[in-house]
Symmetry: C2
Subunit: 253 residues, 2 copies
């Protein structure tokens, strides 16, 4: 049984607490939050501490706070030579204070407050300084997820950038699609199945093989008609750049 | 029972033939293809015709050919005052020859040869010149899909542009994500669940409410670190423009 402490009370911290609460291999010893109320719906009050000095012994401390607070929080921990990890996609393992054994426990997912997540399909990217610590992280990660990967800080950086493209930017394209629908009184409902199918295809096809549309076909009659149709300058600009990028990629293949 | 003829043998035509073959309300009378071999795996040979003059009487003729061939094909049909529709997202109802009753039967989906589709969830956008013809189209459409919409030529234009954003461009962002992974020896597998989750969220959330990430947070430390990390100028450019667009949208709200 791995004794675990969560430090933080944000979105990721809360989802981790929920997920580990159902694990039979992990026991949540405590969680740290500046405000007790933030976690009271998830844990018994006596397990929530508001001072670092109240932290008990654990096998693993997971710091899940905003990226820029990680160095400060890790340096304030009142113990040494324990396994302390952060959950950030963009932050190197090295920002953690060296008085403890360092690691990373990065769940690669987008967590919204309003939407439940199935942790079992969320990839968790692990990094540690030594093999024994990796085993602790792996046991904890595998107890909540079926997709656990060993990923170095450098690889994690690449992954986070790639995730911005496939998640943040993709979602923004959905938003533009919705805006175009609303501008022309078309129900966005009509587009929702296409959004699902676009993602669904990527389960089995490589993106380059799934690419369709006027840009890919070099159908300039259609792409020019679309550019004439779009009135918003920002949307027009995005249309041009992504059309060009699809066509330039096609040339390379 | 609606008597139906399909004119064309491309991706969409073939998917329509497959879908209507399972419908109890529609009978495929014939299909037209320049080359008989193109459809021989889907229909009895005697139902496949290679000359317009061999076309029999039907309640509905669906022209599913490339956009620029629609006017020519519709003018070559050797009959008058029949219901003739096309399946194009970008083409007005008016390109059809006026000797027949015109309409549109546009399945809004991306059809790959290598991937089976479940037609029941594919939105079909219908347009006709009169109510009786609309009823024929609606009966045929509802026999293969649960998502049938009345959409004018103008609305269809908007829909097609929006579809380019949520499908073609989104898929291209997946491709960029994969390229970044490959460049840094990270398995693209790690990102696939995130792609699914990003689409999944849109079943219940509006895109603007689902938006997360450094751009949305105006976290310029992270966005600048990402821009430093990206070496490909095209990727860098797309990153900048979409980050700016997310932030400008945020301001409007």
């Amino acid at each position: 049984m791995i004794q675990l402490t969560i430090i933080g009370s944000g979105n990721v911290a809360q989802h981790l607490i929920k997920a580990f609460s159902t694990s039979s291999l992990v026991e949540i010893v405590q969680a740290f939050s500046r405000k007790k109320e933030a976690l009271i719906h998830l844990l018994e009050p006596e397990k929530i501490v508001t001072e670092f000095s109240a932290l008990k012994k654990s096998d693993l401390y997971i710091i899940s706070v905003s990226d820029n607070a990680i160095p400060e929080v890790s340096s304030q921990l009142p113990f040494e030579n324990q396994l302390v990890v952060h959950t950030s996609g963009t932050t190197s393992i090295d920002v953690l204070d060296s008085k403890n054994r360092k690691g990373v426990f990065y769940p690669l997912q987008t967590f919204s407050k309003n939407k439940a997540v199935d942790f079992s399909v969320i990839p968790i990217c692990l990094e540690s300084e030594n093999e024994e610590d990796y085993e602790i992280l792996e046991t904890a990660a595998k107890s909540i997820s079926n997709a656990v990967f060993s990923i170095s800080s450098e690889q994690r950086k690449a992954l986070h950038v790639a995730a911005v493209f496939v998640n943040n930017f993709t979602n923004h394209l959905y938003q533009i699609g919705q805006e175009i629908c609303e501008e022309h009184q078309v129900p966005f409902e009509v587009l929702r199945p296409l959004i699902q199918e676009t993602a669904e295809k990527i389960k089995t096809l490589d993106p380059v093989d799934a690419q369709t549309g006027p840009a890919k076909r070099h159908d300039s009659v259609t792409t020019n008609a679309h550019l004439d149709f779009i009135t918003n300058e920002n949307q027009k600009n995005i249309y041009k750049i992504l059309t060009q990028s699809i066509q330039d990629n096609g040339k390379k293949l």
